[in-house]
Point group: D2
Chain length 129, copies 4
């Protein structure tokens, strides 16, 4: 695990390759169709939601959570990420490039204002137009 | 956009910083509580699902999709990723490190077998035990 | 609309029939496969989540919501219900009967206690065993 | 269980009352805030998705599913329904009335056509305008 702890720059490309190797080595490519992976992703989002479901509002940084709860949270966040990376790969989408492009589009859509007073109603940067 | 197209190694750390800057510049930190971000993530997963909802089974690589559909798909995949990165950051979880650790755990849980015959029932690498 | 307002007992069976008629009259049965409907359901859950995503904790009864927001909420809750009813029908599941059975199972799994002190950890009545 | 099997008309009102009684008897009202219930609903939708995730396309009626798989499916569909009913109640929304109204709105939005040729692109009856 030392190896992992010292890493600072995990790339999406690296995760993509790990997932592709993982599937190929286990002969799982046959199951990794786009909609199968999408439903698996939805399943993981459900497990992520279950962690938060009975907690009421939760402050940033999760100050009152036990270490084991945080580890569990990290695992569920990772499951969502790994299926998302795999789904993108199987669909032929370069997720890293698409994400950088989306950040640029968001910056155009929601320009920084000197006066933020009227910004409250459009804080979602991902709504459909 | 040239800048984006030439990039090969987008890191999760880089996306995290971009999202943090984006929120701070727009005074949106006040809205980025864990459960707000989680529900925003669920909303984006819903939009991602809508892209696939009436299509029946879809082959790998999406050979019959129009270019604009693929661009739209890339945007929705990105929205899920960006909220996931932001949620992890706000929760104090190092998503890249957690993802590498999860891949290692999965490799232990689902060892590669010489004979894959009995692998069909445990192909989900993220089930709770 | 008067007709609707005076109704007190909407049955799942009635909604099932309305959805089946609706689809047949529009020649939509061809699109209503189990996984198509499931993804449509996920899409609606996403829209439902978007209503709540930037609101922080919301008190019961939604005392501060505008009437139009409540109407919108009713529409999204309905969309989830209608796809759920349709999905159940297409899968051959009697949803009303299954729901009554599940309530009975939950009552066995979570018996009423005179002393509720140790009830806090198992308040989800639907976890997998 | 005989009682359940013979029922034909399960109403949403009846499920609402059962859920309210269930929560009150266990002192769970304190946990049933709108966003807690919404996240619980998302968790159940995740479990429902997991049932379908590795199956590829599934035909209507689920002809090849084992009886125990169908029973499990009925339980997950029910969990989604029960949380949806409870969430609606806690939000002060009459779900049955809202659903009937939504069906009427859908009928106006998607009128039956003698010629269905151009119906293929708007088969989702719940898109936002």
């Amino acid at each position: 695990m030392t190896e992992v702890s010292e890493r600072e720059c995990v790339t999406l490309e690296e995760l993509k390759k790990k997932m592709a190797d993982f599937a190929r080595e286990r002969d799982w490519d046959q199951f990794h169709s786009p909609r199968n992976l999408l439903l698996a992703l939805v399943g993981e989002v459900g497990e992520l939601s279950e962690i938060f479901q009975w907690k009421g509002e939760v402050p940033k940084g999760l100050p009152d959570w036990k270490e084991e709860e945080k580890v569990h949270l990290g695992e569920e966040l990772s499951d969502v990420l790994l299926y998302l990376v795999r789904l993108s790969d199987i669909c032929g989408v370069d997720l890293g490039k698409a994400a950088l492009r989306k950040v640029q589009l968001n910056a155009i859509k929601y320009p920084v204002k000197l006066n933020n007073d009227d910004n409250n109603n459009n804080k979602s940067f991902s709504e459909s137009d």
